[in-house]
Symmetry: C2
Subunit: 413 residues, 2 copies
């Protein structure tokens, strides 16, 4: 597996572009005649584009995506449905495909009618500038941003068992109310693997469980989330190597979203290991990442193991306070073009602060000063060893800062 550049356009046959005006943006991605699969928000209130795209995906094909930022087209009644349908129709006409083969995504303010007089020209502009270049992918990624502070793209290639090389590219926008079971997230993945819609859906679900469903910014769940994968079949058949690459790509996109949580100044990765069950590992890691007290301690650079242990205690996971161990570690930054694939867990630079129920990091210990030094970094890993089994899970999140409050107290206008 290798990290490559180009985002969604890393895949041959893909065209992408985007256009912006004020707080509005439109991104378009086209991937020939593709089999497709998707996952959507579990919120009972769903936006018009989610309704449209859920219907489109039923036939197993989606070849183009049109997504806008600035307005969520949610809680907008029949008018919202017809606006979302109009977006799909415009794009399908351009590519001469069925309107059922176009997915629609929206993100932004809820409950306001879509300003089609702004969106329509942005669609036209995007269609005119489509290209299979890194720039095309970047324009699409930038156009769908809302409170994101950086655009999010990633691509990998892997050699399949049949010897052919498959590529996978993705763009995502996150920030907002990222949560497990997906927050305000639009994520679009292209690939050239050969797979049936059912095979794609199975692969996507496995990848999502270890990535997008393990990130938490504030615990709210959006009405608009969707993740679509489109596979054009130019390369070899889907297999385990593809799955591994897709898992990695989704984890990287999810980590970027966690790192860019609203108001975030720090990124945290929480690995819970040796849990009694996989459910326990997931419950505990997500509980820690979600805890406002852990999040504020991260913001304050405080190695507060008490809050970590308490969040494990109320997670619902089986645990024994006499066995639990907690360690902290500085993570290598995974952004800023320093991307590397970690192949094994590197235990150097790890400081144990609780060892089998005994607190090591108390006043005037080396453990406490080492832990405090780690907490001053931007990217931090918390490792909780439950000592009760052999299951592990990792959740991703960020700190809770003054800016989170500021952004969300003043958002609507």
């Amino acid at each position: 597996m290798k990290i490559i550049s180009g985002g969604v356009c890393a895949v041959d046959g893909v065209l992408a572009s985007g256009a912006q005006k004020g707080k509005y943006g439109v991104g378009i991605i086209f991937n020939e005649k593709s089999n497709a699969a998707a996952v959507f928000t579990s919120n009972k209130v769903v936006a018009a584009p989610v309704i449209i795209t859920k219907k489109s995906i039923e036939n197993g094909h989606i070849s183009a995506i049109v997504a806008n930022s600035g307005n969520a087209n949610c809680f907008t009644g029949e008018k919202g449905i017809s606006n979302a349908y109009h977006m799909a129709k415009t794009v399908s006409k351009f590519f001469k495909i069925d309107s059922d083969d176009v997915g629609v995504g929206s993100t932004g303010v809820i409950g306001r009618e879509m300003p089609m007089e702004i969106i329509n020209p942005l669609i036209d502009e995007s269609l005119k500038t489509l290209e299979n270049t890194p720039e095309g992918s970047s324009r699409a990624a930038e156009a769908i941003m809302t409170t994101d502070t950086f655009s999010k793209e990633f691509a990998v290639e892997t050699t399949l068992e049949d010897g052919s090389v498959a590529k996978i590219g993705g763009i995502t926008k996150g920030s907002g109310m990222i949560a497990p079971n997906m927050g305000t997230m639009l994520s679009y993945i292209t690939t050239d693997v050969k797979a049936s819609p059912e095979e794609l859906h199975k692969a996507l679900k496995e990848a999502v469980e270890q990535s997008f469903n393990m990130i938490i910014v504030d615990g709210d769940e959006s009405t608009n989330d969707m993740l679509v994968i489109m596979a054009n079949g130019r390369s070899g058949k889907i297999d385990e190597n593809f799955q591994e690459a897709l898992n990695f790509l989704c984890q990287m996109l999810a980590k970027m979203m966690a790192k860019d949580g609203e108001g975030a100044t720090k990124f945290m990765e929480v690995e819970v290991k040796n849990a009694y069950s996989i459910e326990d590992a997931r419950l505990a890691s997500k509980s820690i990442v979600k805890s406002p007290l852990v999040k504020t301690a991260l913001f304050g650079a405080d190695p507060n193991w008490g809050r970590i242990v308490a969040a494990t205690g109320y997670s619902g996971a089986k645990m024994d306070e006499k066995i639990i161990s907690v360690s902290l570690k500085t993570l290598k930054s995974f952004l800023n073009h320093e991307l590397t694939i970690e192949t094994s867990s590197d235990d150097k630079n790890t400081v144990k602060i609780v060892d089998k129920g005994n607190v090591l990091a108390f006043e005037n210990t080396k453990e406490l000063s080492d832990a405090e030094a780690i907490m001053k970094n931007k990217d931090i890993k918390i490792i909780v060893d439950l000592g009760l089994g052999q299951y592990s899970a990792t959740a991703y999140g960020c700190d809770l800062s003054y800016d989170y409050v500021k952004i969300n107290a003043e958002y609507t206008t």
Copy 2:
């Protein structure tokens, strides 16, 4: 039912006092030979005083409480147990009762040994100043405060069906990580009703379900929570009138805690009505109160019905976005000695912002400007009508402010 003064000392036969030194405090409450019942945190990590008090309550009697602030005596191993036991022993000797008849409570920092050289003198000082006066109750209430900004006491009296008058008094400390299933909460209730431990437990559980379990500040759950009721049997037999009074008392204590959530500038009460089931009503009301996006909108005085609807949507409660209605209302302040018992829901000063799925409060409407005016107040009620059944529940919470982040980023020291 009538609101009376005196806190826990409103009840004849009760003695209380408290003493403080720096960040440490000790409160003591004595209620003769009492039957008792208690509920505790559901966190799997529990503090030493919780272990001790859980054991003490098994025989159905607790006649005295000793509670300290400044140190949670949690994650403190065998030494912690022996310190908690020592606190109970000191108090039991003074009153010449079994040490099993003393409940112990602690709140404060986790994972540090109890400074008994500070706590012991505070216990002695409290014991020497015990009295059946409002001042005694206030000293106890103040001594157990941590990040609370005001002390919390309440008392009511009610005429029982047998014609006798029963009194109920309570003190509580909240703030911190108040959550459903109880946050860092110590709460002690005295009464003169005649009841078996089983009857008391049943009454307490009913009251807690509608009060302490319906408040949320940040969603974290503490390792130290406990609520103990001690009934000395001087008055008549427990009945429905007592239950009603106990429910009301617990709701008032819980509302005070919600109003005093860490960094809170505003209080919110969320009533979900006409839900399909009582579980649905509770899920939806708690989901709204807990949502960081609703909490920051409250802080920003933004009548953001979209976030309210979205939080209802992901709560798990049955809902239909075409039927849901949302209203806002200014609440009368329930503090500052203006306490009154509301006997019916007063629908004046209520502004409907969503009516059966139709948004009323959009730009340039009277509904929006009225809603914005309501949101500028300190005490706000959100009413969500699901229109699917006949069940209601009310949850209590507060906004999420800059100060919440500040308090919790800098807490440990």
